[in-house]
């Protein structure tokens, strides 16, 4: 039903409308460069804070498939990564290690600043996959099994190291890398470096403080082990030494054992007697 004269009564006069349109065009003209500058500033801040995940490349698009790519493009990057992680769990339970490795790479590429993916991904590869390879009876001999196991350890190590590049303040990744060097690669000296770094980070558990000294001891580097024990002893206040009573004995016994062994002069010893 048409109502006569309605348009005239609800629309503004033409001259007013043109004037307003010109004003909006002017505002838009002023806004566009401001918008670009503002967005560039936001992008710069986000780059500085390392907020950006992997850009959508053709390779990533092929790996994700059409549906998940739309998900990522709609700003659902974290949910897409989480859904892919469900596939990691399935692949792990089915012992499909190569498939699992591919999914882990995809998740970490989508959310490089989510330490959980690096942490669990590294653990799946360096431990679950490598231990499984070590017990793989389909391999013709022990040498092949060891080689396959080492392959997965290296893959896990790679994940941990890339994770550390993206999340340098997450203590658990440093500690897990140290553990890998210690238990799977038997490289105690490198393990000590990672444990040391882990123990210095916020929220790290106190027990990690002793690990570097223990690692140096296992590596046979008594000098470094002594320096580490001594530093640990000196860092503790008398009150802390009391609080950590059971530690005190361990630290003390190690220092007492190493001082004569390294022929430390009496005046430089922590325990001269």
């Amino acid at each position: 039903m048409e109502i006569p004269g309605l348009q005239m009564s609800t629309c503004l006069p033409l001259s007013w409308r043109l004037r307003r349109a010109a004003l909006v065009a002017l505002l838009l003209g002023l806004w566009a460069p401001c918008k670009i500058i503002w967005e560039q500033r936001i992008a710069k801040e986000q780059d500085f804070l390392r907020y950006r995940g992997a850009p959508i490349t053709l390779q990533l698009r092929d790996q994700l498939g059409q549906g998940l790519t739309i998900g990522v493009l709609s700003g659902m990057r974290s949910i897409v990564a989480d859904l892919i992680w469900l596939n990691v769990t399935t692949a792990w339970m089915n012992e499909e290690w190569f498939r699992m490795g591919g999914y882990i790479n995809l998740c970490t590429a989508l959310q490089p600043r989510a330490p959980v993916f690096w942490d669990m991904g590294g653990w799946h590869l360096a431990w679950n996959a490598s231990i499984s390879a070590l017990h793989d009876r389909t391999q013709p001999n022990e040498l092949r099994r060891i080689k396959a196991s080492r392959f997965w350890v290296d893959k896990g190590l790679e994940i941990y190291k890339r994770g550390l590049e993206n999340n340098p303040t997450y203590w658990r990744l440093w500690s897990d890398t140290g553990l890998l060097y210690q238990q799977r690669l038997k490289d105690y000296r490198t393990a000590a470096i990672y444990y040391q770094k882990a123990s210095e980070l916020p929220n790290a558990p106190v027990y990690l403080e002793r690990f570097p000294a223990i690692m140096y001891g296992l590596a046979g580097d008594d000098k470094a082990a002594y320096a580490s024990w001594k530093a640990l002893w000196e860092r503790l206040t008398p009150e802390q030494r009391e609080q950590k009573a059971h530690w005190k004995e361990k630290i003390e016994s190690n220092i007492r054992r190493l001082e004569p062994k390294l022929s430390i002069p009496k005046e430089k010893r922590v325990f001269p007697n």
Partner: protein
């Protein structure tokens, strides 16, 4: 001025009432609440047979991702569907003629409609956030009870200061993630993004002849908005080297389409990374100014429109 504001509020309240009565929006809201609630199950699927405290991080991340993801996704659908219907529905029901025959300016009509959608989105976001907070609390209780159970199973730990300290840190770690005040920051940013989507849909609906056109076009702009940063960087860095068509296209995208990708910092917040409030406020300011521009253009186009 006050009477104008009164008219805007009245139209807004009516828009909210109409929207609440729509079954589609209610169904969407129910789906959103179900998804938020089911995030606990999904988090368990992601880490089966794992009960150690290390895995709580992953489970809490899943709950947070799905909770905020549901608010973003269903909020987007609610914003899109409700805004796209505003003008076509008024035209179809011919109620717009009755309203505009009264001393109501077209700008007031449009702002009132926008205000109504904002009220609707506020209501839906609040409801979904409440469901999200409840789910998070549930996850927190589960993680804490498992930590406590592990602690209780080993009475010797109580005499070991290291174990006591580790246990306290586990509890703190769970609480730090579930009671992170930055989650509020994330929800506010999601809401700002929803308002921008509403602004775009409103602008398109002022000249669109059907709801479908508005829905499809807004969705496309939303997708392009997530790639605007790539287009902008290309245009600024290599625009001169590209052909005039390429340069013109990416230039147009850069100048007109909002940068939706910046709002994906919500993912960083949910992953537990610190996002300063100054940065969030910068983004909110950007969204506000953009919204004012969108509403301004919408009013001018709607003034021109033949009804």
């Amino acid at each position: 001025m006050i009477s104008s504001l009164h008219r805007i509020i009245t139209i807004g309240r009516n828009t909210l009432t109409e929207a609440v009565r729509q079954k589609v929006l209610n169904v969407l809201l129910v789906f959103a609440l179900v998804l938020v609630g089911s995030s606990v199950v999904l988090s368990e699927l992601a880490t089966p047979e794992l009960g150690s405290s290390d895995m709580f991080d992953a489970q809490i991340k899943f709950v947070k991702d799905f909770g905020c993801g549901a608010i973003g996704l269903f909020g987007f659908l609610i914003a899109l569907l409700s805004t796209a219907q505003i003008i076509p529905q008024e035209l179809h029901n011919r109620t717009i003629y009755t309203i505009l025959a009264k001393p109501v300016r077209r700008s007031e009509f449009l702002l009132g409609k926008f205000f109504g959608i904002v009220l609707l989105l506020t209501l839906c976001t609040a409801l979904m956030s409440l469901a999200f907070a409840t789910t998070l609390y549930w996850q927190e209780s589960k993680a804490l009870s498992m930590t406590e159970a592990a602690y209780a199973q080993n009475p010797q730990w109580k005499s070991n200061p290291n174990a006591v300290s580790s246990h306290e840190k586990d509890v703190q770690s769970v609480l730090k993630q579930t009671r992170d005040p930055q989650i509020v920051e994330a929800v506010i940013l999601i809401f700002a993004k929803l308002l921008m989507t509403t602004g775009i849909a409103l602008l398109i609906s002022t000249f669109a002849t059907s709801s479908i056109f508005t829905i499809v076009t807004t969705f496309m702009i939303y997708l392009i908005g997530h790639m605007e940063s790539t287009a902008r960087e290309f245009w600024l860095a290599r625009g001169a080297e590209a052909s005039i068509w390429q340069s013109g296209l990416v230039g147009l995208i850069s100048l007109l389409i909002p940068d939706m990708n910046s709002f994906t910092i919500v993912d960083e917040i949910l992953a537990g990374n610190k996002v300063p409030w100054s940065h969030a406020l910068n983004l909110l300011g950007y969204a506000d100014v953009y919204l004012i521009v969108l509403l301004g253009v919408s009013i001018v186009i709607f003034d021109y429109r033949e009804i």
